[in-house]
């Protein structure tokens, strides 16, 4: 059986046994190469599922939309987001059934290390892939002069139209009210002024630090093609170098920035390099 056949068979089985009310997956989109989130509630609807290049949103984002038992077809990054959501008490593990499958959009993400599901109740395919994320993009950027880095960010941030597509497709961005929408006090102007744009993106980056799993959904969602991954990936690289860990890989480990140890490396402090 193909992966898609495995997925469909499992989804039908879950719906027929009433183990779940709905299965979250993808259907064919209306434009070439595009797939669209699809919520199957009957075995007939399961037939519309696809699993192919273009299934590249992070479906974990939809889990909070449902209150009952939910099945979800999850690739590597979706499962890592699910792990984070469970640990952050946003999703109840008992309420979800994870159908794991390898990411079908290989090649679209920079050296993805975890295309296969990290946790699943059922794996639709068994092939294990081994990729290495080398962070060469971040390293190349770090080599630039600070003026060049600043200019690059200014150029990228000035493209932003503040549509919040990046935030809204991000499973880690689940605040009921985002700081940009608060108006008493009004933390941030409702403009596309460069300063306002930068504050928005930097705050978002810092808020998802240690929780972002680099699924790239924000980058793909951005209509203005702002390079949103560089900041997130820089933090991932720092986390890996400083704490030797990656977010969203285990249900047990404490989220990296939730924990304090006396011997935590702190090279960002004056004299802090000595503690590394």
């Amino acid at each position: 059986m193909t992966v898609l056949e495995n997925i469909k068979a499992k989804a039908k089985e879950l719906l027929e046994a009433k183990e779940v009310e709905v299965v979250i997956g993808f259907a064919q989109g209306t434009l070439p190469g595009k797939c669209t989130p699809y919520f199957a509630r009957t075995t007939e609807e399961v037939e519309r599922f696809v699993w192919q290049d273009g299934c590249n949103l992070n479906l974990a984002n939809y889990l909070s939309k449902f209150s009952g038992k939910v099945g979800i077809i999850a690739k590597g990054c979706d499962t890592r987001s699910i792990i984070n959501l469970i640990k952050e008490n946003q999703v109840n593990r008992e309420r979800i059934y994870i159908i794991g499958a390898n990411c079908p959009s290989m090649g679209s993400c920079h050296n993805c290390r975890h295309p296969q599901g990290v946790i699943a109740d059922f794996y639709a395919e068994q092939v294990q892939l081994n990729n290495q994320d080398d962070f060469s993009d971040v390293e190349a950027f770090e080599e630039l002069l600070s003026e060049e880095r600043k200019n690059y960010f200014y150029q990228e941030m000035s493209k932003c139209i503040r549509c919040y597509a990046c935030r809204n497709v991000c499973p880690a961005c689940y605040c009921k009210e985002c700081f940009v929408e608060e108006n008493l006090p009004c933390w941030l102007g409702k403009t596309t002024d460069l300063a306002d744009n930068i504050i928005f993106h930097l705050t978002r980056t810092m808020h998802v630090a240690g929780r972002c799993i680099d699924c790239g959904a924000c980058v793909r969602a951005c209509p203005m093609e702002v390079n949103l991954s560089l900041l997130n990936r820089k933090l991932l690289k720092d986390i890996q170098e400083l704490f030797n860990t990656e977010p969203g890989l285990s249900l047990e480990a404490e989220p990296v920035l939730n924990e304090y140890k006396e011997d935590d490396p702190q090279p960002f402090l004056i004299g802090g390099e000595e503690s590394v």
């Binding site: 209306t30 434009l31 989130p37 009004c186 102007g189 969602a221």
Partner: protein, 329 residues
Amino acid sequence: MFDYQVSKREFQNWLIKMQEEYEVWAPVKVGKNYTWGSWDGGSFPDEDYQNTLKPPKDLFFPQYEVLLKYKKVKGKRPLIIEPDLPQEKRIIWEVRPCDARSLTILDRVFINKDYEDPYYSHRRKNTVVISLVCQKPGLGCFCKDPLTTEGSDLMLLDCGDTYLVKLVSVKGKGLIKNPVFTADKPINIPMELPANPFNLEIADKDLAEKLEVIYRSPLWRELQEKCVNCGVCTFLCPTCHCFDLTDDQKGKKVRSWDSCMFASFTKQASGHNPRPTGAERLRQRVMHKFRYFFENHGIFACVGCGRCVEKCPVNLDIREVLQRIKEVQ
């Protein structure tokens, strides 16, 4: 029927001459995409120019602008400082006909018998719109008439080394005083334009009537299920015009685009929101474009440019939404 045929070189020279009096705006290629910018006096659109990422709406109704400033004066009414109204004379060219037409939709909102928005109307009156006929549709396009002249002052059709030029408005005719453009008689379109390339007859009178009766339909909940409530569709829309007014700490009153897709849209001071979920928000977007605007102005607030179709991160396709609405029994 077009009025003149002119070589691109002659047209370019004419436009360069116009730069003495006008700021000339054109689609400027940045990376893979086109954005509105100052024309360099030499560039013509590439063959891959379909349309700009953002519509020309920004040039008339910017994403944010300071409407006025005020200062507190002790014991008196605050001092209000009104900005100078925009006076620059502009030509924007290579506007696609759908986008040119969108300006006539915005005109109905910002320049009407009850109210004239001075910021918008100054920009509009001082700007000449030269449109360029589409010869191949984009993936999301669904306009009804690729040759519409609504909103254009002049219209161009690319014929390789030459442009056919159509005089559309008095404003447009006034520009062509200079006799570089010559023609004896009207010129027919010399090539086969794609036969009804965009002809998706989704938005018609039946749709507006259907929308009247499905306000409480469960369909809205179903349609919005995959929507993430970002503002891509509304911010890239050439006709969406909802805005918000905010006061900054320094006494500036700022008008900025709002989006019915946002959770904060129409949220009241009490905290109550009459549109509490995505279903009401999607309904508002569709109703505004295809029912309320139709009732008020006799046309839909959609020109079929396809930006929302192509850029929606979850592929919530307005064409499909309208089709589903029409299918409701």
